[in-house]
Symmetry: C2
C-alpha cells in the first residue's frame, strides 16, 4: 500500500441555493480517496460505517482501486450523518444536524498491509484518532498530511497541537490558519505554524485559491473561476486527495512537486463543486483532469 487515508465515510444532507440533496454519500475519506485514485491504485481507507451504507457505493470505491480492508462495517449501527445549509455566497454554511453514530467509539485498526505505507493522509477527524493512526504505522511514513478544522481548535486545541507536531504538511483554510496561529497575516501565520511542527502549510482559500508555504518559500495557485458552484461540500477534502495523490504518483516531496500537487488538488476540487455530493467525481474522466490542468496553466501564465 502506498497511501493510507483515515477519515469519515458518511451520509450528508445538503442544502444550497440550487437545491437539496438528502442522505447522499459524503465524508472526508470518501472524497480524499476518490480524488487520490486518479493518481494511484495502491491506496487504502481507514474508517467506519454502519450497515446502512449502500454496498454499491463501496463497490464503486473498490472499482476505483481503493482498498477497503481498513473500513469497519458495524452491524446494526448507523453511519455518521451530517446536515448543512450553505448561505447564498457559498462561502459559509450552518450545520443543521450532526449524528456521530458509529463514529462515537471509532477505534481505527490498520490492516498489516497498510502499516508500511510511505504516504499517510489524515482526513478531518478527532486529533486523538489521527494520532492513533500515526501510532499504528510500523515505520515513519515519508510524508504525513493532516487536514483539520476550526471545530477542533475550539474544543480540543491541546490534543490538536500534539497531533500537528507529528505531521509534515497541514492543510487548513485561511480563517483556521489565523485561529491556530493567532496571527492575522498569513505570512506570519505560516511562520508560527512551521514552529508547531509542519514544515509545509497549505492554506485553502476556496474560490480565492490556495497558498503553499514550504520552508520559507511561497506558491500561490488561484482557483479556477467557475460559472456555477453547485455544492462546495467535500471541495477541501477533494483538494487534499488530489494533492497527496499526485505526490504519491511522483513519489517526491520537493517544492516543485508540491506546487504541481496544489494544481492537481485545485483541479480535482474544481470538478467536485460542479454537482452535489460525489456525482461529478463519479463520472470524471482522466482526460477532463488533464484538460483542466492545462486551463490552470493558461489562467496563471504570464511573461514579463
Amino acid at each position: 500500500m502506498k497511501l493510507v487515508t483515515v477519515g469519515t465515510v458518511a451520509f450528508d444532507t445538503i442544502e444550497t441555493p440550487y437545491g437539496k440533496a438528502e442522505r447522499v454519500v459524503g465524508g472526508a475519506a470518501t472524497y480524499i480517496s476518490i480524488a487520490a485514485s486518479y493518481f494511484t491504485k495502491e491506496l487504502g481507507l481507514v474508517s467506519v460505517v454502519g450497515d446502512d451504507f449502500p454496498n454499491e457505493e463501496l463497490k464503486y470505491m473498490q472499482k476505483r482501486g481503493i482498498n477497503l480492508d481498513g473500513l469497519q462495517i458495524k452491524e446494526g449501527e448507523k453511519s455518521f450523518f451530517w446536515a448543512g445549509r450553505y448561505h447564498n455566497n457559498m462561502n459559509s454554511r450552518d450545520t443543521l444536524d450532526t449524528q456521530l453514530n458509529v463514529l462515537a467509539d471509532f477505534k481505527p485498526k490498520l490492516p498489516t498491509s497498510y502499516r508500511n505505507a510511505k504516504y499517510l493522509m489524515l482526513g478531518n477527524l478527532t486529533p486523538e484518532i489521527q494520532a492513533k493512526v500515526i501510532g499504528q504505522m510500523k515505520s515513519k511514513p515519508k510524508l504525513i498530511v493532516m487536514d483539520t478544522m476550526n471545530f477542533w481548535m475550539d474544543i480540543a486545541m491541546p490534543a490538536l497541537k500534539k497531533t500537528i507536531k507529528k505531521v509534515d504538511v497541514l492543510t487548513i483554510n485561511d480563517e483556521e490558519a489565523r485561529q491556530l496561529s493567532g496571527e492575522y497575516s498569513l505570512v506570519n501565520a505560516a511562520k508560527a505554524i512551521h514552529k508547531m511542527g509542519p514544515k509545509v502549510l497549505v492554506i485553502k482559500k476556496g474560490e480565492h485559491g490556495a497558498l503553499l508555504f514550504y520552508n520559507g518559500k511561497m506558491f500561490y495557485a488561484p482557483a479556477m473561476p467557475l460559472a456555477q458552484v453547485y455544492d462546495p461540500t467535500g471541495a477541501g477534502d477533494t483538494f487534499a486527495g488530489g494533492f497527496i495523490g499526485y505526490l504519491v504518483k511522483a513519489n517526491s516531496t520537493t517544492f516543485e512537486n508540491m506546487k504541481r500537487a496544489v494544481i492537481y488538488g485545485s483541479t480535482l476540487a474544481s470538478f467536485c463543486v460542479e454537482e452535489f455530493s460525489i456525482a461529478r467525481l463519479k463520472r470524471l474522466k482522466q482526460s477532463e483532469v488533464n484538460k483542466r490542468v492545462k486551463e490552470f496553466e493558461k489562467l496563471t501564465k504570464f511573461t514579463m
Copy 2:
C-alpha cells in the same frame, strides 16, 4: 500628453488597527498618477483642490513628472476630505466623514495639451464627471479605463451605466462586479459586464489578487502575501495607476500586455499598503518595483 487621469486629490484621516493618520494626502487621482509615473512621464492630472492643499505635495507630484495644468486650485475653498476606519481584517471599513468641499461643483476642464491623449484613466468620481471628461477629448483615446465603486451603483446606476458603455476597461472589486451584474459567479458577472460595453474587466480582490477578463479569456494574478498590511487606502487606485501606466509604456492593449499590466498594478499596490497614505510610494525605488515583479513571477510559476 500620453495619459490623462481624472479623479480626486484630497485629504484623508485614516484609522487602522495599527494607528491613526490625520489629514494625510489621499485621493484616487493622487494614487493613480504617482503609480503611473513609474512608467511614463507624459501624464496629466485633472482634479480640483482648495487653497489648503500643501504646495510641497504638488511640487512632489510635479517632480515625478505629473503635469498639473488640469488641476484647479480654488482660492478660499477647502479640499475634499474623507475619514474612515478599517476593521480588524482590513477588508472592510466604515466611512466616518465625507466633506465634498471643492468637489461639490467641480467642472473638469481639460487643457488643450491633454485632449489628444491616447490613454484616459477615469478614477472614482461621479459618473457624470467621468462622462464629461470623455466628452472633452478631441479624438477617441486608444484606451479608456474606468474605476468606480458601489456607492454610485447604489445612488446613480443609470448614469453609471451610461458612462460604463463608453469605456474599454472597467476596474471594480468582486462585490461590485456582483452588484453591477446581478450575477454571483464572477465568470457570469464578466459576461454580463462585457455586454454593458467594456470588452475588458479587471476584478480587484484585494489580498486575493486580481482577475482579468479579456474578450472571453481569463487571467488570475495573486496578490503578494505580506507580513503586514498597514493601510489599504489607495491600494485599488494604485493598482489602476500601475495597470494603465504599464499599458502606456508598452503602448499596447493586447491580452499579454494587459496581463503584465495586472502584475505591475499588483506590484505597486503591494507597496502602497505597507505604510499610511502615499508614504511608501514616495520613497519607492524603481529597483524595488523590478525586484517585487520577480517575486511575483516566483510566487506563481509552476511547470506540469
